[in-house]
Protein backbone atom coordinates (compact mmCIF):
# COMPACT_ATOMS: atom_id res chain seq x y z
CA UNK A 1 0.00 0.00 0.00
CA UNK A 2 1.28 3.46 -0.77
CA UNK A 3 0.03 7.00 -0.65
CA UNK A 4 -1.50 7.60 -4.03
CA UNK A 5 -0.81 10.74 -5.98
CA UNK A 6 -1.96 9.78 -9.49
CA UNK A 7 -0.77 6.21 -9.17
CA UNK A 8 -2.46 4.87 -12.28
CA UNK A 9 -2.44 6.76 -15.52
CA UNK A 10 -5.59 6.44 -17.62
CA UNK A 11 -7.06 9.85 -16.94
CA UNK A 12 -9.21 10.04 -20.07
CA UNK A 13 -11.36 6.94 -19.26
CA UNK A 14 -10.97 6.75 -15.53
CA UNK A 15 -12.43 8.04 -12.34
CA UNK A 16 -10.22 10.93 -11.27
CA UNK A 17 -10.06 12.67 -7.90
CA UNK A 18 -7.78 15.69 -8.00
CA UNK A 19 -6.68 17.48 -4.80
CA UNK A 20 -10.01 16.71 -3.16
CA UNK A 21 -10.92 18.00 0.27
CA UNK A 22 -14.20 16.63 1.57
CA UNK A 23 -15.82 16.95 4.97
CA UNK A 24 -18.92 15.41 6.51
CA UNK A 25 -20.07 17.48 9.48
CA UNK A 26 -17.00 17.94 11.64
CA UNK A 27 -15.21 14.90 10.15
CA UNK A 28 -12.56 15.42 7.50
CA UNK A 29 -13.03 12.58 4.99
CA UNK A 30 -10.38 13.64 2.47
CA UNK A 31 -7.68 16.28 2.67
CA UNK A 32 -6.03 17.26 -0.61
CA UNK A 33 -6.31 13.66 -1.86
CA UNK A 34 -5.81 12.52 -5.44
CA UNK A 35 -6.55 9.23 -7.15
CA UNK A 36 -7.06 7.83 -10.63
CA UNK A 37 -8.66 4.46 -11.20
CA UNK A 38 -9.64 2.87 -14.52
CA UNK A 39 -13.32 2.14 -15.09
CA UNK A 40 -12.88 -1.59 -15.37
CA UNK A 41 -13.24 -4.49 -12.99
CA UNK A 42 -14.21 -4.16 -9.35
CA UNK A 43 -12.65 -1.52 -7.11
CA UNK A 44 -13.11 -2.05 -3.38
CA UNK A 45 -13.25 1.13 -1.31
CA UNK A 46 -12.57 0.12 2.27
CA UNK A 47 -12.09 1.92 5.55
CA UNK A 48 -13.18 1.82 9.14
CA UNK A 49 -16.75 2.64 10.19
CA UNK A 50 -17.35 6.38 9.94
CA UNK A 51 -14.30 6.99 7.74
CA UNK A 52 -16.58 8.53 5.08
CA UNK A 53 -16.85 5.82 2.40
CA UNK A 54 -20.54 6.49 1.74
CA UNK A 55 -19.89 10.24 1.83
CA UNK A 56 -17.18 9.84 -0.81
CA UNK A 57 -19.53 7.83 -3.05
CA UNK A 58 -22.16 10.55 -2.69
CA UNK A 59 -19.56 13.18 -3.55
CA UNK A 60 -18.66 11.20 -6.68
CA UNK A 61 -22.35 11.47 -7.62
CA UNK A 62 -22.41 15.21 -7.00
CA UNK A 63 -24.86 14.85 -4.11
CA UNK A 64 -22.41 16.42 -1.66
CA UNK A 65 -20.25 19.47 -2.50
CA UNK A 66 -16.47 19.27 -2.23
CA UNK A 67 -14.60 21.78 -0.09
CA UNK A 68 -11.77 21.83 -2.66
CA UNK A 69 -10.55 19.97 -5.73
CA UNK A 70 -12.52 18.10 -8.36
CA UNK A 71 -13.89 14.66 -9.17
CA UNK A 72 -14.10 13.68 -12.83
CA UNK A 73 -15.62 10.66 -14.56
CA UNK A 74 -14.60 10.41 -18.22
CA UNK A 75 -13.23 13.93 -17.77
CA UNK A 76 -16.65 15.22 -16.69
CA UNK A 77 -17.70 16.66 -13.31
CA UNK A 78 -20.36 14.64 -11.43
CA UNK A 79 -23.38 16.67 -12.53
CA UNK A 80 -22.43 16.16 -16.20
CA UNK A 81 -21.35 12.54 -15.80
CA UNK A 82 -24.65 11.25 -14.41
CA UNK A 83 -25.56 9.31 -17.53
CA UNK A 84 -22.33 7.32 -17.08
CA UNK A 85 -22.91 6.42 -13.42
CA UNK A 86 -25.36 4.02 -11.77
CA UNK A 87 -25.86 4.04 -8.00
CA UNK A 88 -27.18 1.63 -5.42
CA UNK A 89 -27.48 3.08 -1.90
CA UNK A 90 -26.79 1.06 1.22
CA UNK A 91 -30.42 0.56 2.06
CA UNK A 92 -32.14 -0.39 -1.16
CA UNK A 93 -35.44 1.44 -1.27
CA UNK A 94 -37.88 0.79 1.54
CA UNK A 95 -40.56 2.93 -0.09
CA UNK A 96 -43.71 1.47 -1.62
CA UNK A 97 -43.08 -2.06 -0.44
CA UNK A 98 -46.48 -3.18 -1.75
CA UNK A 99 -45.62 -2.30 -5.34
CA UNK A 100 -44.26 -5.11 -7.54
CA UNK A 101 -40.46 -5.06 -7.88
CA UNK A 102 -40.78 -4.60 -11.64
CA UNK A 103 -42.56 -1.25 -11.09
CA UNK A 104 -39.54 0.02 -9.17
CA UNK A 105 -37.26 -0.84 -12.09
CA UNK A 106 -39.61 0.55 -14.75
CA UNK A 107 -39.71 3.85 -12.82
CA UNK A 108 -35.91 3.99 -12.96
CA UNK A 109 -35.76 3.26 -16.70
CA UNK A 110 -37.28 6.57 -17.81
CA UNK A 111 -37.60 8.38 -14.48
CA UNK A 112 -35.16 11.15 -15.43
CA UNK A 113 -37.62 12.58 -17.97
CA UNK A 114 -40.51 14.96 -17.37
CA UNK A 115 -44.03 14.02 -18.44
CA UNK A 116 -45.92 10.76 -18.72
CA UNK A 117 -44.42 7.51 -20.01
CA UNK A 118 -45.36 7.21 -23.68
CA UNK A 119 -43.32 4.26 -24.92
CA UNK A 120 -44.71 1.77 -22.43
CA UNK A 121 -43.67 -1.32 -24.36
CA UNK A 122 -40.06 -0.19 -24.75
CA UNK A 123 -39.92 0.67 -21.06
CA UNK A 124 -41.36 -2.70 -20.12
CA UNK A 125 -38.87 -4.56 -22.29
CA UNK A 126 -35.91 -2.59 -20.92
CA UNK A 127 -37.00 -3.26 -17.32
CA UNK A 128 -37.37 -6.98 -18.12
CA UNK A 129 -33.87 -7.00 -19.66
CA UNK A 130 -32.35 -5.37 -16.57
CA UNK A 131 -34.15 -7.74 -14.21
CA UNK A 132 -32.94 -10.70 -16.27
CA UNK A 133 -29.37 -9.35 -16.18
CA UNK A 134 -29.39 -9.27 -12.39
CA UNK A 135 -31.20 -12.59 -12.01
CA UNK A 136 -34.34 -10.97 -10.62
CA UNK A 137 -36.80 -11.91 -13.37
CA UNK A 138 -38.35 -14.81 -11.46
CA UNK A 139 -39.59 -12.62 -8.59
CA UNK A 140 -40.07 -9.36 -10.50
CA UNK A 141 -43.84 -9.38 -10.13
CA UNK A 142 -43.86 -9.97 -6.40
CA UNK A 143 -44.26 -6.99 -4.03
CA UNK A 144 -40.87 -5.58 -3.03
CA UNK A 145 -41.75 -5.96 0.65
CA UNK A 146 -42.05 -9.75 0.31
CA UNK A 147 -38.55 -10.17 -1.13
CA UNK A 148 -35.50 -11.23 0.87
CA UNK A 149 -32.55 -8.88 1.38
CA UNK A 150 -30.59 -10.56 -1.42
CA UNK A 151 -33.54 -10.39 -3.82
CA UNK A 152 -34.01 -6.69 -3.06
CA UNK A 153 -30.32 -6.13 -3.78
CA UNK A 154 -30.86 -7.61 -7.26
CA UNK A 155 -33.80 -5.28 -7.85
CA UNK A 156 -31.63 -2.37 -6.64
CA UNK A 157 -28.87 -3.44 -9.05
CA UNK A 158 -31.38 -3.53 -11.91
CA UNK A 159 -32.38 0.04 -10.96
CA UNK A 160 -28.74 1.10 -10.89
CA UNK A 161 -28.17 -0.36 -14.37
CA UNK A 162 -31.01 1.72 -15.86
CA UNK A 163 -29.64 4.18 -18.39
CA UNK A 164 -26.76 1.83 -19.32
CA UNK A 165 -24.05 3.36 -17.12
CA UNK A 166 -20.43 2.26 -17.50
CA UNK A 167 -19.64 2.80 -13.82
CA UNK A 168 -21.63 1.44 -10.88
CA UNK A 169 -21.19 2.91 -7.40
CA UNK A 170 -22.49 0.40 -4.85
CA UNK A 171 -22.71 1.29 -1.16
CA UNK A 172 -22.26 -1.82 1.01
CA UNK A 173 -23.91 -4.29 -1.40
CA UNK A 174 -22.88 -7.24 0.81
CA UNK A 175 -24.20 -5.86 4.09
CA UNK A 176 -27.00 -7.84 5.76
CA UNK A 177 -26.44 -10.87 3.51
CA UNK A 178 -25.48 -14.31 4.78
CA UNK A 179 -22.36 -16.01 3.41
CA UNK A 180 -24.20 -17.76 0.57
CA UNK A 181 -25.94 -14.49 -0.35
CA UNK A 182 -22.62 -12.65 -0.38
CA UNK A 183 -21.07 -15.28 -2.65
CA UNK A 184 -24.01 -15.08 -5.08
CA UNK A 185 -23.80 -11.28 -5.14
CA UNK A 186 -20.05 -11.30 -5.74
CA UNK A 187 -20.49 -13.78 -8.63
CA UNK A 188 -23.21 -11.55 -10.07
CA UNK A 189 -21.05 -8.41 -9.83
CA UNK A 190 -18.11 -10.13 -11.51
CA UNK A 191 -20.44 -11.43 -14.20
CA UNK A 192 -21.81 -7.91 -14.80
CA UNK A 193 -18.34 -6.39 -15.20
CA UNK A 194 -17.41 -9.09 -17.73
CA UNK A 195 -20.66 -9.17 -19.73
CA UNK A 196 -21.32 -5.42 -19.82
CA UNK A 197 -17.72 -4.19 -19.73
CA UNK A 198 -18.54 -1.82 -16.88
CA UNK A 199 -16.55 -0.82 -13.83
CA UNK A 200 -17.78 -1.16 -10.28
CA UNK A 201 -16.66 0.82 -7.25
CA UNK A 202 -18.10 -0.62 -4.05
CA UNK A 203 -17.73 -0.12 -0.34
CA UNK A 204 -17.65 -3.16 1.92
CA UNK A 205 -16.28 -4.59 5.12
CA UNK A 206 -16.62 -8.11 3.70
CA UNK A 207 -13.13 -8.29 2.23
CA UNK A 208 -13.02 -12.09 2.56
CA UNK A 209 -16.14 -12.61 0.45
CA UNK A 210 -14.69 -10.30 -2.20
CA UNK A 211 -11.21 -11.83 -2.34
CA UNK A 212 -10.47 -13.06 -5.83
CA UNK A 213 -13.12 -10.83 -7.37
CA UNK A 214 -11.58 -7.45 -6.62
CA UNK A 215 -9.36 -5.88 -9.29
CA UNK A 216 -7.95 -3.21 -6.99
CA UNK A 217 -8.46 -1.93 -3.50
CA UNK A 218 -8.52 1.64 -2.24
CA UNK A 219 -8.33 2.31 1.47
CA UNK A 220 -9.77 5.48 2.89
CA UNK A 221 -7.88 6.46 6.02
CA UNK A 222 -6.54 9.59 7.72
CA UNK A 223 -7.91 11.88 5.03
CA UNK A 224 -6.08 10.07 2.24
CA UNK A 225 -6.65 7.34 -0.34
CA UNK A 226 -4.23 4.42 -0.45
CA UNK A 227 -4.25 2.14 -3.49
CA UNK A 228 -3.49 -1.55 -3.69
CA UNK A 229 -3.53 -3.14 -7.17
Amino acid sequence: MAENKRVCCQPERGLVLRDVTLTAGSTCVLRDASLTVPLSGITLLSGRNGAGKSTLLRAMLGLIPLQAGEILTHGLPPTQARQHIGYMPQSVTDAALLLPAVSHVRAAVDGVRWGLPLRLRARREEADRLLALTGAASFAHRPLGLLSGGERQRVGLAQALAGSPDLLLLDEPLAALDQAGQERTVRLLRDLTERLGIGIVLTSHETEALSGAVTRGVQLADGGLHVRV
Binding site: L61, L63, T79, R82, I85, Y87, M88, P89, S91, T93, A95, A96, L98, L99, P100, V102, S103, H104, R106, A107, A108, D110, G111, V112, R113, W114, G115, L116, P117, P143, G156, Q159, A160, A162, G163, L169
Partner: protein, 268 residues
Protein backbone atom coordinates in the same frame (compact mmCIF):
# COMPACT_ATOMS: atom_id res chain seq x y z
CA UNK B 1 -83.05 12.20 -7.81
CA UNK B 2 -81.56 13.67 -10.99
CA UNK B 3 -84.48 15.99 -11.61
CA UNK B 4 -82.97 18.40 -9.08
CA UNK B 5 -80.17 20.78 -10.11
CA UNK B 6 -78.42 20.44 -6.75
CA UNK B 7 -78.17 16.66 -7.18
CA UNK B 8 -76.78 16.93 -10.70
CA UNK B 9 -74.24 19.48 -9.48
CA UNK B 10 -73.35 17.20 -6.57
CA UNK B 11 -72.71 14.23 -8.87
CA UNK B 12 -70.56 16.28 -11.27
CA UNK B 13 -68.64 17.88 -8.39
CA UNK B 14 -68.09 14.50 -6.76
CA UNK B 15 -66.82 13.07 -10.06
CA UNK B 16 -64.30 15.89 -10.55
CA UNK B 17 -63.05 15.61 -7.00
CA UNK B 18 -62.87 11.81 -7.17
CA UNK B 19 -60.59 11.84 -10.21
CA UNK B 20 -58.36 14.34 -8.43
CA UNK B 21 -58.40 12.61 -5.04
CA UNK B 22 -57.80 9.15 -6.51
CA UNK B 23 -54.76 10.31 -8.48
CA UNK B 24 -53.13 12.70 -5.99
CA UNK B 25 -54.00 10.40 -3.09
CA UNK B 26 -52.19 7.49 -4.75
CA UNK B 27 -48.95 9.50 -4.89
CA UNK B 28 -49.46 10.79 -1.33
CA UNK B 29 -49.79 7.23 -0.04
CA UNK B 30 -46.86 6.05 -2.14
CA UNK B 31 -44.72 8.78 -0.57
CA UNK B 32 -46.07 7.98 2.92
CA UNK B 33 -47.57 11.44 3.24
CA UNK B 34 -51.00 10.50 4.62
CA UNK B 35 -50.42 12.92 7.49
CA UNK B 36 -49.80 15.70 4.97
CA UNK B 37 -53.15 14.95 3.30
CA UNK B 38 -54.85 15.05 6.70
CA UNK B 39 -53.13 18.30 7.66
CA UNK B 40 -53.69 20.07 4.32
CA UNK B 41 -57.46 19.47 4.49
CA UNK B 42 -57.60 20.94 7.99
CA UNK B 43 -55.35 23.83 7.00
CA UNK B 44 -57.83 24.48 4.19
CA UNK B 45 -60.56 24.71 6.83
CA UNK B 46 -58.70 27.57 8.52
CA UNK B 47 -58.26 29.33 5.18
CA UNK B 48 -61.96 28.96 4.42
CA UNK B 49 -62.86 30.44 7.80
CA UNK B 50 -60.52 33.36 7.07
CA UNK B 51 -62.06 33.88 3.63
CA UNK B 52 -65.58 33.94 5.09
CA UNK B 53 -64.48 36.48 7.68
CA UNK B 54 -63.04 38.71 4.93
CA UNK B 55 -66.04 38.22 2.67
CA UNK B 56 -64.48 35.93 0.04
CA UNK B 57 -65.73 32.48 -1.13
CA UNK B 58 -64.55 29.68 1.21
CA UNK B 59 -62.83 27.79 -1.65
CA UNK B 60 -60.50 30.74 -2.33
CA UNK B 61 -59.35 30.76 1.30
CA UNK B 62 -58.87 26.99 1.28
CA UNK B 63 -56.73 27.20 -1.85
CA UNK B 64 -54.54 30.05 -0.58
CA UNK B 65 -53.95 28.54 2.88
CA UNK B 66 -53.40 24.99 1.61
CA UNK B 67 -50.99 26.23 -1.06
CA UNK B 68 -48.90 28.20 1.44
CA UNK B 69 -48.78 25.20 3.75
CA UNK B 70 -47.94 22.90 0.83
CA UNK B 71 -44.95 25.05 -0.10
CA UNK B 72 -43.67 25.10 3.49
CA UNK B 73 -44.06 21.31 3.87
CA UNK B 74 -42.62 20.51 0.44
CA UNK B 75 -39.64 22.84 0.78
CA UNK B 76 -38.29 21.15 3.89
CA UNK B 77 -34.64 20.15 3.71
CA UNK B 78 -34.09 16.54 2.78
CA UNK B 79 -32.12 14.19 4.97
CA UNK B 80 -29.36 11.87 3.81
CA UNK B 81 -31.76 9.24 2.49
CA UNK B 82 -33.65 11.73 0.37
CA UNK B 83 -36.58 11.99 2.79
CA UNK B 84 -37.03 14.99 5.11
CA UNK B 85 -36.01 13.81 8.58
CA UNK B 86 -38.35 16.24 10.40
CA UNK B 87 -41.30 15.87 8.00
CA UNK B 88 -43.94 14.93 10.59
CA UNK B 89 -42.82 17.65 12.99
CA UNK B 90 -42.98 20.29 10.25
CA UNK B 91 -46.43 19.17 9.11
CA UNK B 92 -47.70 18.98 12.70
CA UNK B 93 -46.54 22.47 13.55
CA UNK B 94 -47.83 24.01 10.33
CA UNK B 95 -51.16 22.33 11.13
CA UNK B 96 -51.15 23.59 14.72
CA UNK B 97 -50.47 27.17 13.64
CA UNK B 98 -53.18 26.99 10.97
CA UNK B 99 -55.80 25.58 13.34
CA UNK B 100 -54.98 28.37 15.77
CA UNK B 101 -55.56 30.91 13.01
CA UNK B 102 -58.76 29.07 12.02
CA UNK B 103 -60.13 29.40 15.53
CA UNK B 104 -59.28 33.11 15.48
CA UNK B 105 -60.99 33.59 12.08
CA UNK B 106 -64.14 31.80 13.30
CA UNK B 107 -64.16 34.00 16.38
CA UNK B 108 -63.80 37.16 14.28
CA UNK B 109 -66.39 36.18 11.70
CA UNK B 110 -68.89 35.74 14.52
CA UNK B 111 -70.43 32.75 12.76
CA UNK B 112 -68.81 30.10 14.91
CA UNK B 113 -70.60 26.79 15.10
CA UNK B 114 -72.75 26.78 11.94
CA UNK B 115 -69.87 27.89 9.71
CA UNK B 116 -67.48 25.44 11.37
CA UNK B 117 -69.92 22.57 10.81
CA UNK B 118 -70.32 23.42 7.12
CA UNK B 119 -66.56 23.73 6.59
CA UNK B 120 -65.67 20.63 8.55
CA UNK B 121 -68.30 18.30 7.12
CA UNK B 122 -68.78 19.84 3.68
CA UNK B 123 -71.88 20.75 1.77
CA UNK B 124 -71.84 18.67 -1.36
CA UNK B 125 -75.53 19.31 -1.96
CA UNK B 126 -74.92 23.05 -1.90
CA UNK B 127 -72.45 23.18 -4.81
CA UNK B 128 -73.42 25.92 -7.26
CA UNK B 129 -72.27 26.42 -10.86
CA UNK B 130 -69.46 28.92 -10.06
CA UNK B 131 -68.06 26.51 -7.45
CA UNK B 132 -68.31 23.68 -9.97
CA UNK B 133 -66.37 25.75 -12.51
CA UNK B 134 -63.74 26.55 -9.89
CA UNK B 135 -63.45 22.85 -9.00
CA UNK B 136 -62.98 21.94 -12.68
CA UNK B 137 -60.29 24.63 -13.01
CA UNK B 138 -58.41 23.33 -9.97
CA UNK B 139 -58.70 19.74 -11.22
CA UNK B 140 -57.37 20.56 -14.70
CA UNK B 141 -54.45 22.51 -13.21
CA UNK B 142 -53.59 19.75 -10.72
CA UNK B 143 -53.81 16.88 -13.21
CA UNK B 144 -51.81 18.89 -15.76
CA UNK B 145 -49.03 19.54 -13.25
CA UNK B 146 -49.11 15.92 -12.13
CA UNK B 147 -48.81 14.74 -15.74
CA UNK B 148 -45.83 17.08 -16.21
CA UNK B 149 -44.11 15.81 -13.05
CA UNK B 150 -45.12 12.22 -13.95
CA UNK B 151 -42.04 10.07 -14.36
CA UNK B 152 -39.72 12.13 -12.16
CA UNK B 153 -42.26 12.17 -9.34
CA UNK B 154 -42.68 8.40 -9.51
CA UNK B 155 -38.92 7.78 -9.63
CA UNK B 156 -38.22 10.22 -6.77
CA UNK B 157 -41.02 8.62 -4.72
CA UNK B 158 -39.83 5.03 -5.20
CA UNK B 159 -36.06 5.53 -4.99
CA UNK B 160 -35.27 9.07 -3.78
CA UNK B 161 -31.51 8.63 -3.49
CA UNK B 162 -31.11 6.88 -6.83
CA UNK B 163 -33.29 9.50 -8.51
CA UNK B 164 -31.18 12.33 -7.10
CA UNK B 165 -28.03 10.54 -8.22
CA UNK B 166 -29.46 10.42 -11.76
CA UNK B 167 -30.13 14.17 -11.69
CA UNK B 168 -33.82 14.28 -10.77
CA UNK B 169 -34.44 17.61 -8.93
CA UNK B 170 -36.15 15.81 -6.04
CA UNK B 171 -36.72 18.92 -3.92
CA UNK B 172 -38.32 20.88 -6.75
CA UNK B 173 -40.49 17.87 -7.59
CA UNK B 174 -41.46 17.58 -3.92
CA UNK B 175 -42.42 21.27 -3.63
CA UNK B 176 -44.52 21.25 -6.82
CA UNK B 177 -46.18 18.00 -5.80
CA UNK B 178 -47.10 19.38 -2.37
CA UNK B 179 -48.62 22.42 -4.08
CA UNK B 180 -50.68 20.05 -6.25
CA UNK B 181 -51.67 18.05 -3.15
CA UNK B 182 -52.67 21.26 -1.36
CA UNK B 183 -54.91 22.32 -4.24
CA UNK B 184 -56.43 18.83 -4.44
CA UNK B 185 -57.10 18.76 -0.68
CA UNK B 186 -58.81 22.15 -0.90
CA UNK B 187 -61.02 20.90 -3.75
CA UNK B 188 -61.88 17.69 -1.88
CA UNK B 189 -62.67 19.63 1.28
CA UNK B 190 -65.19 21.69 -0.68
CA UNK B 191 -67.13 18.49 -1.39
CA UNK B 192 -66.47 16.18 1.55
CA UNK B 193 -65.60 18.79 4.20
CA UNK B 194 -62.23 19.32 5.86
CA UNK B 195 -62.62 16.32 8.14
CA UNK B 196 -63.56 13.78 5.48
CA UNK B 197 -61.64 15.07 2.46
CA UNK B 198 -58.95 12.93 4.00
CA UNK B 199 -61.03 9.76 3.59
CA UNK B 200 -61.55 10.40 -0.13
CA UNK B 201 -57.83 11.14 -0.65
CA UNK B 202 -56.49 8.25 1.39
CA UNK B 203 -59.06 5.43 1.42
CA UNK B 204 -59.15 4.55 -2.30
CA UNK B 205 -55.39 5.07 -2.73
CA UNK B 206 -54.53 2.91 0.28
CA UNK B 207 -56.83 0.18 -1.05
CA UNK B 208 -55.21 0.29 -4.51
CA UNK B 209 -51.73 0.03 -2.96
CA UNK B 210 -52.87 -2.81 -0.71
CA UNK B 211 -53.86 -4.75 -3.82
CA UNK B 212 -50.21 -4.64 -4.93
CA UNK B 213 -50.98 -3.05 -8.30
CA UNK B 214 -48.44 -1.17 -10.42
CA UNK B 215 -48.72 2.60 -10.93
CA UNK B 216 -51.11 2.75 -13.91
CA UNK B 217 -53.49 0.04 -12.65
CA UNK B 218 -53.20 1.37 -9.11
CA UNK B 219 -54.16 4.93 -10.07
CA UNK B 220 -57.04 3.62 -12.22
CA UNK B 221 -58.39 1.54 -9.31
CA UNK B 222 -57.90 4.41 -6.89
CA UNK B 223 -59.87 6.81 -9.13
CA UNK B 224 -62.58 4.19 -9.74
CA UNK B 225 -62.95 3.54 -6.02
CA UNK B 226 -63.06 7.25 -5.19
CA UNK B 227 -65.78 7.67 -7.80
CA UNK B 228 -67.68 4.66 -6.43
CA UNK B 229 -67.42 5.99 -2.87
CA UNK B 230 -68.50 9.54 -3.62
CA UNK B 231 -71.34 8.62 -6.00
CA UNK B 232 -72.36 5.69 -3.78
CA UNK B 233 -72.32 8.06 -0.81
CA UNK B 234 -74.59 10.51 -2.62
CA UNK B 235 -77.07 7.76 -3.57
CA UNK B 236 -77.10 6.17 -0.12
CA UNK B 237 -77.49 9.58 1.46
CA UNK B 238 -80.50 10.21 -0.79
CA UNK B 239 -82.05 6.92 0.27
CA UNK B 240 -81.16 6.87 3.97
CA UNK B 241 -80.88 10.58 4.82
CA UNK B 242 -77.51 9.91 6.50
CA UNK B 243 -74.83 12.50 5.62
CA UNK B 244 -72.69 11.88 2.49
CA UNK B 245 -69.36 12.03 4.42
CA UNK B 246 -70.64 9.26 6.69
CA UNK B 247 -70.99 6.89 3.74
CA UNK B 248 -67.70 8.01 2.16
CA UNK B 249 -65.76 7.44 5.39
CA UNK B 250 -67.40 4.09 6.07
CA UNK B 251 -66.97 2.93 2.48
CA UNK B 252 -63.27 3.91 2.47
CA UNK B 253 -62.56 1.85 5.58
CA UNK B 254 -64.63 -1.09 4.29
CA UNK B 255 -62.89 -1.17 0.89
CA UNK B 256 -59.49 -1.17 2.59
CA UNK B 257 -60.56 -4.00 4.92
CA UNK B 258 -61.78 -6.04 1.94
CA UNK B 259 -58.51 -5.47 0.08
CA UNK B 260 -56.62 -6.57 3.17
CA UNK B 261 -58.70 -9.76 3.42
CA UNK B 262 -58.19 -10.48 -0.28
CA UNK B 263 -54.42 -10.14 0.13
CA UNK B 264 -54.38 -12.42 3.15
CA UNK B 265 -56.28 -15.15 1.32
CA UNK B 266 -54.07 -14.80 -1.76
CA UNK B 267 -50.76 -14.84 0.10
CA UNK B 268 -49.22 -18.26 0.63
Amino acid sequence: MFEFDFMRHAFVGAAVVSVLAGTVGWFLMLRRQAFAAHALSHIGFSGAAGAVWLGFPPLSGMVVFSLMAGFVIGAEREGERGVPAQRDSTIGLVLAASLGLGAWFLHMSNRGSSLATTLLFGDVLGIDVPTLEALCGVAVLCLGLLAFLGRKLLFASLAPEVARARGVPARLVSVVFMAVAALACAACAEVAGALLAFSLMIGPAATALKLGLGPLAGIAVSVGLALGLSWGGLMLSWVTDAPVPFWIGLGAALSYALADLWRRFRSP
